[in-house]
């Protein structure tokens, strides 16, 4: 067969392949279910509503970190008490800290970088809270926690590192990782599902509400979260199945390859505490518990030995620096049972109340 036939074949394969990649990238960019590529508008709108004191309903697939950024940037006064944590700290509400203003800045999958970056947002804006509640998840000290969403606040994180004399961040790496989602099949599947949902329902938009509980998730004006009714009111069997499934996942969320408490993260953590306390800001530690089934696995499986070590470490630091500690990864310490959890890792508001001694 003539060479030109083969050359045409190769060209056609490459052209088709490139077209598939371009179409996928276009779909991913245009639909952008997690708003990775979108400009400020979407998140700006959420932040504006929260600043006005509105609750925001039907929030999904939005960039949580950008919301924190726009919120702080548009404050006209400092907040008295702020919470920095992951989704496991999102049930901490303002009534637990009734003195002065309050905002819960917890973001899903928060890593230590997020804590540094969000606190830095206040400093960059010329504000300083009086109290910082730090939600300390065990993966904060795991160098293999595979959390990368903090990179949306890369500038603020880098700025915080400057203060702490750590300079190891690469802007290029951040943009490479972000734009890699353009050619990600899982993001494409998500884009297609979201696109179809929008086509059918035509209603993916959040809205302000005075409701505090609903069939859709609601972010309250104090930054805490109220899950949708279906998730909030799951029966005991479903919660247990969910916890079991979580406990059997390999690895358990962000705890893979956790062979030691990373030295760099320990330095960063202690540096953050010193910095915050050095500014006469009160620090409170919050150790969110795990579902009893999950904690049983964490406590007995040698692969997760660092979870208990992390708790020990946080308590040592707390003692050394005179910081009050609430909670424990072990749910039994604060009298939490299976009924106090939405799933394997998210404690309910009633668990938070038990921990802060308000039941």
């Amino acid at each position: 067969m003539a060479d030109y036939v083969h050359k045409n074949y190769v060209k056609s394969v490459l052209i088709t392949m490139i077209m598939v990649l371009l179409i996928s990238s276009f779909i991913n960019y245009y639909v952008d279910p997690a708003h990775i590529f979108s400009k400020a508008g979407f998140e700006q709108g959420i932040a504006d509503l929260l600043i006005k004191g509105e609750n925001v309903a039907k929030l999904s697939n939005y960039n949580e970190r950008l919301v924190q950024k726009y919120y702080v940037q548009h404050l006209d006064h400092s907040i008295n008490t702020i919470v920095l944590g992951s989704s496991r700290s999102m049930q901490i509400r303002s009534y637990l800290f009734p003195k002065g203003s309050f905002f819960n800045h917890s973001v899903s999958g928060a890593s230590l970088e997020d804590h540094l970056a969000i606190y830095q947002l206040y400093l960059l804006h010329g504000f300083k809270p009086n109290t910082v509640v730090l939600g300390l998840d065990p993966w904060l000290l795991n160098s293999s926690n595979v959390q990368t969403r903090w990179q949306d606040l890369a500038k603020e994180y880098y700025s915080a590192l400057n203060d702490n004399s750590h300079k190891d961040y690469s802007v290029t790496t951040f943009y490479l990782k972000k734009y890699k989602e353009l050619v990600s099949i899982s993001y494409l599947i998500s884009s297609i599902k979201t696109g179809l949902k929008i086509l059918w329902n035509n209603d993916d938009m959040y809205y302000p509400t005075s409701e505090v509980a609903s069939s859709v998730p609601i972010k309250l004006s104090d930054g805490s979260l109220v899950y949708e009714e279906k998730f909030r009111n799951q029966d005991k069997v479903k919660v247990e199945e969910s916890a079991k499934s979580y406990a059997l996942s390999t690895p358990i969320y962000s705890l893979g390859n956790y062979s030691k408490l990373d030295d760099k993260y320990k330095d960063m953590f202690e540096g953050l505490i010193d910095k915050v306390q050095g500014q006469n800001v009160q620090v409170i530690f919050f150790l969110p518990p795990y579902h009893p089934l999950v904690y049983e696995v964490l406590a007995s499986n040698p692969d997760y030995k660092m979870v208990t070590e992390a708790e020990k470490y946080f308590r040592v630091i707390a003692r050394r620096k005179g910081i009050k500690v609430y909670g424990s990864y072990n749910p039994r310490v604060n009298g939490c049972s299976e009924r106090d959890f939405f799933d394997g890792m998210h404690p309910k508001e009633r668990a938070i109340m038990k921990i802060f001694n308000l039941n």
């Binding site: 045409n8 074949y9 394969v13 392949m17 598939v20 990600s184 099949i185 059997l248 996942s249 390999t250």
Partner: protein, 482 residues
Amino acid sequence: MLFNSYEFIFIFLPITLILYFTLGYFKYTKMALGILVFASLAFYAYWDIRYLPLLIGSILFNYFVGALIGKTKSKKLLIINIFINFALLGYFKYAGFFVKSIDDFFGASFIAPEIILPLGISFFTFTQTAFLVDAYRGEFEKYDLLKYSLFVTVFPHLIAGPILHHGEMMPQFNNPKIFCLNWSNICIGITIFFVGLFKKVIIADRLALIANPIFNSAFSGSSLDMIEAWLGALAYSLQLYFDFSGYSEMAIGLALLFNLKIPINFFSPYKAKNIIDFWRRWHITLSEYLKNYLYIPLGGNRKGQVRRYINLLATMLLGGLWHGAGWNFIIWGALHGVYLTLNHLWRHLTKKVGLKVFRNEKTGRFLAWLTTFIAVVMAWVFFRANDVNTALSILRGMFGANGISLNPQFASNLSIKEVVIWIAISLIITLKSPNIIEITGDLHGKELSWKPSYAWAIILGIIAGIAILGISQHSEFLYFQF
């Protein structure tokens, strides 16, 4: 470096191709081969440069020793050097297992050393020991160091096979045509490569989401019901096939880009109607190696039926041990040894008495296939399980010891519907469709036979595009651990 990575597909491969063919075009053939060797070593070093001296040392040692053995025909030298090669493999691969087994059996408390297994050591050890044996048998010509190095390291096969034989590779290196760009080979090469990539990143990795949580659940002490246990076993059997055959096909496709033909390693193994046939279709180069360098030297079938079965068992036991340092791998090997023995015994007996078990050939073929498939799937349970207890637990589940649940929970949060769909699609592809080697091979007149047409180009382009999208989810090949 992995084949399923951006840096390999878009940087390493194009640069190596351009350099190779440019040098070949200007008749710098030795340099072209040198570039391939350099690229292969760089490919290996990308994983961990600390182990590069080990690979280079192994090549130099075996090359010079091989030449000496070829000259002196010294059996003593051969045995010593095979021992050295396997001692090295034994140290890296089995030291920990050996110590742990002593601890378990004798209640001792020796500390098992934590040794990182150098990538591909099992493969390059086998490749080179075969060379030493053939040097002793006088079955090789004198090769120069460059070609020998290329034979051991050529990157498509370096990490996870196929196991190459010098007899099939060296003549190719001596053929001046390999340095000329061959568009036909490029077409077939990219076709096989992208199909292999798709099998790995789209199908195998999806099946892993089903198999892993089920096996992990059993490992953590959960009792699996029948449906869950079978779904896990099937998912893993299919995952392993798509992963390993996908890798092998990528290797074949890559080699073809450079005008090199490396042997087929998989040929629709799950279509086999008996275990003997299965081992002619699964990891073919390993089977050939074990046959030529273990089974036949042990006596093969030349010393009577009983000795034949003993040789089969011994070969498969050692084959199992080669796969991994664990009793579960040894049991897996032993099972296949028993299967092969029974198969040969069955053939021997039915031939002797002229027995025809099934009047209806179609029924007979179906039952033969089903028996073989189930036997293989059950053996894979040992292969995948973390330990023997976990494997036995899963098998108990498969036999219904823990009942049947119509709504199993999967830790990966896949629904039962998704799980069944993925397994069904994978089974249909595995059992009903021709494999890529058949499709791109010489199938004149058959509908699915490949040709470099626009229709095939579009199909392959879509497959390639989807496969590249799947690369973003990083995953290693299952056989990397070997």
